[in-house]
């Protein structure tokens, strides 16, 4: 194991967040057993007051997980000097089999947390708290995710051996090797461009539909998730090439480096935010049939959708700009 402050911080944060979410889940379970919104008893009042604590704990954990996701990537990036063969975060994540699962689980925690907070925000506008069961049921799904992310991260850091020779983005994302990453990278850039454009049109179209017609929040959420997956794949197989101006450099992390004008932040921040918002809109939309939520749902969906559409538009604009600005011309190779 390697010991550095960032690793200590990440392990500590995961442990504490797991504890907090665990406590929130336990409170939630207890609450579900005793909950009786019609009762005026002191017990019910105590339970209602406890919901504030649970929401605060989850919101705080969500923010902590978000910052720790960033720190995890930064740290992987910074540690590349300590591993033979690693030139950026990709190489470090490859040092043992737990690197990538940790990253994916952290992203999953982020999106699940976003959905939970969206539901909670909606539920707080229904005078009979109609989503109490849904919400605390979802906590039961969030907790294992947080636990798994923490465990994978611990295994990853405990298993870091500096004598391991790892393979970095050059090898991992080369179309010749095997595995998901290679398949993603091996995606023909022309097809990636097409898929990116199609998913972009889909998600922006679904978003506009929601904004114009006031319905279709659910499909928009699904389109958002699809757009996210396609966008990540396209960053690896297409956008990265143009950013690095190198026909074989597929790496999702190097774009974050200062050498590339931090273009990665301009890609990832709007994409992640927009996807979280779209998922929130999708989670909120089906509840318009609940009487006490009927007044709140359309506004909530519209607000989230508007912001999500802006985020997606920004992402596609930046991606297009990165491609157009680039000196890399692949006309003869691909088109």
């Amino acid at each position: 194991m390697l010991l550095n402050p960032a690793i200590l911080a990440l392990l500590g944060v995961s442990a504490i967040v797991t504890l907090l979410v665990g406590a929130a889940t336990a409170f939630g379970l207890h609450l579900l057993r005793e909950w009786d919104i019609a009762s005026g008893s002191e017990l019910q009042l105590r339970l209602e007051r406890r919901t504030y604590l649970i929401a605060t704990l989850v919101a705080f954990s969500f923010v902590a997980e978000l910052v720790s996701l960033l720190l995890f990537v930064y740290n992987a990036e910074a540690m590349h000097t300590q591993f033979v063969g690693a030139m950026c975060a990709t190489g470090v994540l490859n040092v043992n089999p737990w690197g990538w699962p940790t990253l994916f689980l952290k992203i999953a925690v982020f999106f699940t947390g976003a959905v939970w907070l969206a539901l909670n925000h909606l539920d707080n506008q229904g005078h009979d708290y109609p989503l109490v069961r849904v919400k605390y049921g979802l906590l039961l799904a969030l907790f294992p995710l947080v636990l798994a992310a923490g465990a994978a991260q611990a295994l990853f850091f405990l298993g870091l051996r500096p004598d391991v020779i790892t393979s970095c983005c050059g090898a991992l994302f080369s179309p010749e090797s095997a595995g998901v990453a290679a398949e993603v990278a091996g995606l023909a850039p022309a097809r990636a461009a097409l898929a990116l454009a199609a998913s972009g049109a889909l998600v922006l179209g679904a978003g506009s539909w929601v904004l114009l017609r006031g319905s279709g929040g659910g499909p928009f959420g699904a389109a958002g998730l699809l757009a996210f997956v396609v966008a990540i794949a396209a960053v690896v197989s297409l956008v990265a090439l143009y950013v690095y101006e190198h026909p074989h450099h597929h790496c999702p992390f190097c774009v974050l480096k200062p050498g590339h004008d931090h273009v990665g932040y301009w890609l990832y921040v709007p994409l992640f935010a927009a996807t979280a918002l779209a998922l929130g809109a999708g989670a909120v939309a089906p509840w318009r049939r609940v009487p006490s939520l009927a007044h709140a749902v359309p506004g909530e969906v519209r607000r989230r959708t508007r912001l999500a559409v802006i985020g997606y538009a920004l992402f596609y604009a930046v991606a297009t700009y990165a491609i157009l600005r680039s000196n890399l011309t692949m006309t003869d190779v691909w088109w």
Partner: protein
């Protein structure tokens, strides 16, 4: 301005005035908080700067250094080896180096004697590092006498004192001529301490090292990237150890913060009761308290980090130089290169703001759920 933003602004206004009204109580917390940020931040900035310094120093170092081993011990390397290396493809430049250590009983310090390649030094002259100049009180033109391997004192004239540009490594350095070096240590002509190789393509370094071990089985190649990696790991490890030790301090701080947050005065309790009675919601109080924590954290973090920055970069980390740096009696005195990076700030955040917030969540919630009708009882 949208309503929710206005609301936050009102809450911040209120919490600011409430913090100022309880200046004395909050000042104590702020001080301890700032101190924690300062100490952790200093350790972090300092080790980071050291790592950078080491990397900067090694920037100019050869890609491969070849040492000869005899019975597992470092030994002098004959010139014939140098010729045989010539046949390895990819090696751009090779030079036999002469360097060694000398213990000076007067200052009880080890000096590094070296024959430089990029400058020629006259037979009776020496160029010394700033550290030696300081401890022995030498300046250009002074004479300096050392006792050689044969017991005879040798006198050298100080031709120059090295600048403090990268004093971390040049502090204890003495540059002498090849003749003097060989006479002083009794090393026969044709023998070198080791060989430095320059490699054009960094991707070939490993391959070349492999070939060298086959070609010259009695040698050991040391790669620059290996040294860098080791330095990195060692510095990170040291920093980690210091942090583990400081976790105790952070925990003490957490207990302190918890105590401060849960030990609301009767006055504060009454205030929250009034706010709830006149129409503030539990969530409003939590948000207000959250802003309070954010303001305190931001102040402590900025002040603490700034103080750490000044401490490390403008006072040469005066407080713990001896703990983290010292590997020689001659403490190098050098100007570290100021930098800020996201990794450090995020890590520091998790060691300070995060635990503080965790410690205050439950107390804040407890205060916020005060019965709204409490003020009527």
């Amino acid at each position: 301005m949208p309503t929710w933003l206005l609301r936050q602004k009102y809450l911040i206004d209120f919490t600011l005035s409430s913090l100022l009204r309880r200046r004395a109580k909050n000042l104590g917390l702020l001080l301890v908080y700032t101190l924690i940020v300062f100490v952790l931040g200093s350790v972090m900035l300092f080790t980071h700067a050291l790592r950078q310094e080491a990397a900067a120093v090694l920037e100019g170092a050869p890609e491969i250094v070849l040492q000869r081993l005899v019975a597992g011990r470092h030994d002098l390397l004959p010139a014939s080896h140098l010729e045989r290396i010539g046949s390895v493809r990819g090696v751009q430049k090779k030079e036999g180096r002469l360097w060694g250590y000398f213990y000076d009983p007067a200052t009880r310090a080890n000096y590094t004697l070296m024959v430089p390649h990029d400058r020629t030094i006259a037979g009776g002259e020496v160029v010394i590092g700033a550290g030696i100049a300081r401890t022995r009180g030498l300046a250009r033109g002074d004479f300096y006498t050392l006792r050689g391997q044969d017991g005879q004192p040798q006198t050298l004239r100080v031709a120059d004192v090295l600048g403090s540009g990268s004093e971390l490594v040049s502090s204890d350095l003495m540059l002498v001529s090849e003749d003097f070096f060989r006479r002083f240590f009794g090393i026969a002509p044709g023998l070198y301490t080791d060989v430095a190789l320059t490699v054009r393509n960094p991707n070939e370094v490993r391959k070349i090292a492999e070939k060298l071990t086959l070609l010259l089985p009695d040698t050991r190649p040391i790669l620059r990237e290996e040294i860098l990696r080791t330095y990195d790991a060692v510095f990170a490890w040291r920093e980690g150890i210091v942090y583990v030790l400081l976790v105790g301090a952070v925990l003490a701080f957490v207990v302190f913060a918890w105590d401060k947050a849960s030990g609301l005065s009767a006055e504060e309790r009454r205030e929250i009761g009034i706010l709830k009675a006149i129409g503030w919601e539990t969530g409003d109080v939590i948000r207000m308290k959250f802003w309070e924590g954010a303001l305190v954290s931001l102040t402590a973090f900025l002040v603490g980090y700034l103080a750490a920055y000044v401490h490390v970069y403008y006072s040469d980390a005066a407080l713990f130089e001896p703990v983290l740096k010292g590997w020689a009696v001659l403490y190098p005195r050098f100007q570290l290169l100021p930098t800020i990076d996201g990794l450090q700030v995020a890590t520091l955040f998790f060691f300070t703001v995060f635990p503080y917030t965790v410690a205050t969540i439950v107390p804040i919630w407890r205060a916020a759920i005060t019965d709204p009708d409490a003020v009527m009882r």
